[in-house]
């Protein structure tokens, strides 16, 4: 291979886009050609720098909320409303932009909002219920009843409100800080919701006691863009719900299980 050809293909080689035969040709060339070897090292270093420097910009939570509200409002505007009120809704939406509108709509819609994202379950699975609870908690003002990053504040807060005191850990040093706690209901019974954060994503960890002392292995479900992990350990039933990817949610669960 000529050095010109190497120049053109070295990046594809770095990105593993070449077939084995081509890759081998390049490897042989750069072993013996100082200039091309340097080019390879230079671009490889840059590639590694870019990948490792945490340059990824994750979406702000407010954007996520705006999109949900945006979808709801355009959907509702189409619904069969009397002609008089429809312009009013439209004008209201245009006049207040951004978060103000989102809060107003959320306050007005409340439970109604969650119905859009909670398809009436044909099977009342725990995962569906957890996802519905998770989505409800994402409405402004609904995330925590006690907002504290201190596990020694959150844990006792549940006392007197629930007839159990859930185990609370804070894997903040691993990138999953505790945000707070909340009372919630799953499957008709009260549960503790421990709220964690992963970058800009929310993880709801639902905890309640179970009389079954056996360890229950991690069960994973994915539905409507959310991942749910279910397990039981030492007399506690856990369900973790989030829109972070499966690997990260598993990492979170591993930290909780310690």
């Amino acid at each position: 291979m000529t050095c010109d050809e190497i120049n053109q293909q070295i990046d594809a080689y770095i990105d593993h886009e070449l077939d084995a035969a081509h890759a081998l040709d390049i490897e042989r060339h750069i072993e013996h050609c100082a200039a091309c070897g340097q080019l390879y090292q230079s671009h490889l270093q840059l590639h590694n720098l870019l990948v490792q420097s945490q340059l990824y910009e994750t979406a702000p939570e407010t954007l996520r909320q705006k999109l949900i509200q945006q979808t709801l409002s355009t959907s509702l505007a189409k619904r069969d409303q009397p002609a008089q009120s429809q312009p009013a809704t439209h004008t209201l939406w245009r006049r207040y932009t951004g978060i103000a509108a989102a809060i107003m709509l959320a306050a007005g819609l409340g439970w109604q909002a969650s119905e859009w994202f909670h398809r009436p379950p044909s099977t009342n699975t725990l995962a569906d219920a957890a996802i519905a609870a998770h989505v409800r908690s994402m409405m402004p003002g609904h995330l925590t009843d006690v907002a504290s990053t201190d596990q020694h504040t959150v844990k006792p807060w549940f006392g007197g409100k629930l007839d159990f005191s859930p185990p609370v850990t804070d894997p903040a040093t691993s990138g999953f800080p505790l945000v707070g706690g909340r009372l919630d209901f799953l499957d008709g019974h009260p549960v503790a919701a421990l709220v964690y954060q992963r970058r800009k994503h929310v993880i709801n960890l639902f905890v309640w006691p179970t009389e079954d002392q056996r360890e229950q292995d991690l069960v994973t479900t994915s539905s409507r863009g959310f991942n749910v992990l279910i397990w039981a350990q030492q007399g506690w039933h856990y369900q973790a719900v989030s829109d972070v990817n499966d690997a990260e949610l598993r990492a979170f669960a591993a930290l909780i299980m310690q």
């Binding site: 990046d11 594809a12 840059l46 590639h47 994750t58 999109l67």
Partner: protein, 181 residues
Amino acid sequence: MQDRDAAERLQQMILPHLDAAYNLARYLAGNEADAQDIVQEACLRATKFADTSRGENPRGWLLTIVRRTCYTWLETHRADSGTLSLDELEDAIPVAHDSLPDAIFIRNVNRETLRAAIDALPLPFREVIILRELENLSYTQIAQVAGISLGTVMSRLARARTKLKEWLVQHIGQENLDDLR
């Protein structure tokens, strides 16, 4: 029925890839506020026209829409949208490879400097760097999102990395560079 579809589309096809959408918009537009506006508009289109996805990779599909929305938005809102002349873009004449930056290695560089280097890239180079290095797309996927040929992806990425290296060597203090010449 249509209302439920929009909500379903948002939940199934858009929200799981919101970070990817925002990341691309953020780097093409250059700031958070504009990126949010662009993503909102792109998602509005995406929820209406989800039939165009035809089951293909939903992340790639959304990124294609976001990218197009970015360029339309930039044309409307900014005079100089960082587009290049055809000569600058095309590799009809192979760039005489200047080995100078390649002989210099970066010992130390912070995130802000890297970001500034990326922001200094003209858009056609910036987007291939973002899609390859941050979004980890294959060359084929980049070609689909950007609407260019595979060969163009290869050459554009190679030039983008070279340009980045040149910019960094010029803007990083000597103490953070190892000159191997």
